[in-house]
């Protein structure tokens, strides 16, 4: 029943968007599935990822503004605190105005997981899973899997060290093997199951007590510690909560095939 409501709501949106002006939704590219060895993973070490579609660019400020216009419940003033903390769209001038210094074509950030999830759902898309995101992100310009390409890995690390990349325009970094832009170099991105990373139960606590929080010890053993960039991403995912809104954290949407 609730799904039906959702569909109706999205239908309403569609009808509305046909009458009003609207941004063209981001195009998608197919990603070929395959096996992946996540940094923290299954007992067997490998996961299978099915074929899926992924947005070519991260969602931009102007696209998100459009979404907020159509979905007033996601205006800064209306977003419920259980879904988004006080930093939600904190750089905007007002409910329906980007900040003066903001580039409309740079990736949206300061959005919570709940907001990102709602955005994708209303495009009839969804957030990619951690495994899907990592599969797409391991492609360099020329290789589908550049995990062992040290210059590619070095570039990623360097991009993490560059400040204020969130204000760049989408598409300004490299286009990867699948035709996807900006997987590294602009913002970190939300994933549907980001909270599946169990590095610590609660990052504010430390020490022995944390072990009690875990059901299985598999979470502790990372599979490829050489992959420092991946380690940073997983650590970041492990340290955030779904209602957080962070300046260098945006998202893009995915779709099953």
């Amino acid at each position: 029943m609730s799904r039906l409501k959702y569909i109706f709501a999205c239908f309403g949106l569609l009808a509305f968007s046909l009458t009003g002006y609207s941004q063209t939704p981001t195009g998608m590219q197919p990603i070929k599935g395959g096996t992946l060895i996540p940094l923290y993973g299954l007992d067997s070490g490998k996961v299978w990822v099915d074929d899926f579609l992924l947005d070519i660019y991260p969602v931009t400020n102007e696209q998100y503004l459009d979404f907020v216009k159509k979905y007033p419940e996601w205006k800064r003033a209306n977003a419920k605190s259980i879904f988004a903390d006080g930093n939600y769209l904190s750089e905007w001038q007002s409910d329906l105005q980007l900040g003066t210094h903001m580039n409309p074509k740079s990736p949206i950030s300061n959005v919570s997981w709940f907001a990102a999830k709602a955005y994708c759902a209303c495009q009839e898309k969804r957030l990619p899973s951690v495994d899907e995101w990592e599969l797409a992100a391991r492609a360099s310009e020329t290789k589908a899997n550049a995990e062992n390409d040290s210059s590619f890995n070095t570039r990623i690390i360097e991009s993490y060290e560059t400040p204020n990349t969130y204000s760049k325009t989408v598409g300004s970094t490299y286009k990867n093997f699948w035709g996807i832009y900006d997987m590294h170099g602009l913002v970190w991105e939300w994933t549907s199951d980001f909270n599946s990373v169990l590095i610590s139960g609660e990052s504010r606590q430390d020490g022995e007590a944390d072990r009690n929080l875990f059901c299985a010890g598999a979470a502790i053993s990372a599979s490829n510690l050489r992959d420092y960039a991946a380690f940073m991403r997983y650590a970041f995912r492990g340290s955030i909560k779904a209602n957080y809104n962070i300046k260098n954290l945006g998202f893009r949407c995915a779709k099953s095939k």
């Binding site: 909270n195 169990l198 009690n212 929080l213 779904a242």
Partner: protein, 233 residues
């Protein structure tokens, strides 16, 4: 003709006086010290607090939580729209649980390590609190396997019987969303096993998270106290 007119006027006056009376009742506003120097003591008239000398404020201005049109607080889990199945195969929304204190844990029934201890802790809390106005909710993180039938059997095996025990199966997405509300983490690590954080959460009657107990083998005294206090509110 004239008497009719009079009658009309009289009934109008009567009606107005009815409403006037109504508003008068509503306007009896209570006043309280903003620092709560005298705990919850309230006054009928504005004035200053005898302890800290601050101006008294209206009780409504202080205690009214931010509510939306349905009277649900912004921080309430009742804002979640998801639909769930109980162990009796009934469809419910979280708002259906409104009005009772909720003690919530996320588990999966084929779990052999931590979950039995978590469930034992839930039973222990249940008997310590001993209050029919508290519900105990177990949400499965493995909804693909934990069907209502399976949850029913599990409840019987674990002696989670009576109306106060609610076991829920949801859609994968909705379970993930719910876990994010609890800041609870989990990951499927094999076809039968999950790793997950062990957290028991307490929600007040309005669905707002009030307390979390993390870890296994920790004392539940604080949680029990909290539940009792919330139930009396």
């Amino acid at each position: 003709m004239n008497t009719n007119y009079l009658k009309n006027i009289l009934s109008l006056i009567f009606l107005i006086s009815l409403f006037a009376c109504q508003t008068q009742v509503n306007s009896t506003e209570q006043y309280i010290c903003p620092m709560k120097c005298e705990d919850h003591k309230t006054y009928d008239h504005p004035g200053t607090c005898p302890v800290c000398k601050m101006d008294l404020v209206k009780v409504s201005s202080l205690e009214a939580p931010i509510l939306d049109e349905d009277g649900i607080s912004e921080e309430s889990i009742f804002n979640l729209q998801s639909e769930w199945k109980t162990q009796d195969n009934e469809s419910i929304h979280l708002t259906d649980l409104k009005g009772k204190v909720l003690v919530v844990v996320m588990i999966y029934t084929s779990c052999e390590a931590a979950c039995p201890r978590l469930v034992a802790d839930m039973r222990n809390i249940y008997s310590k609190v001993d209050d029919p106005n508290v519900d105990y909710v177990l949400v499965s993180i493995d909804p693909e396997k934990d069907t209502p039938e399976k949850l029913k059997t599990y409840a019987q095996e674990e002696h989670l019987e009576g109306d106060q025990w609610i076991l829920l199966q949801g859609k994968l997405d909705d379970v993930r969303e719910f876990s994010n509300v609890l800041s609870m983490k989990y990951k499927k690590i094999s076809p039968i096993d999950f790793s997950h954080t062990n957290i028991i959460s307490v929600f007040d009657k309005q669905g707002v998270l009030q307390h979390q107990q993390e870890g296994l083998g920790v004392s539940n005294d604080k949680l029990v106290q909290k539940v009792k206090a919330l139930s009396e509110e």
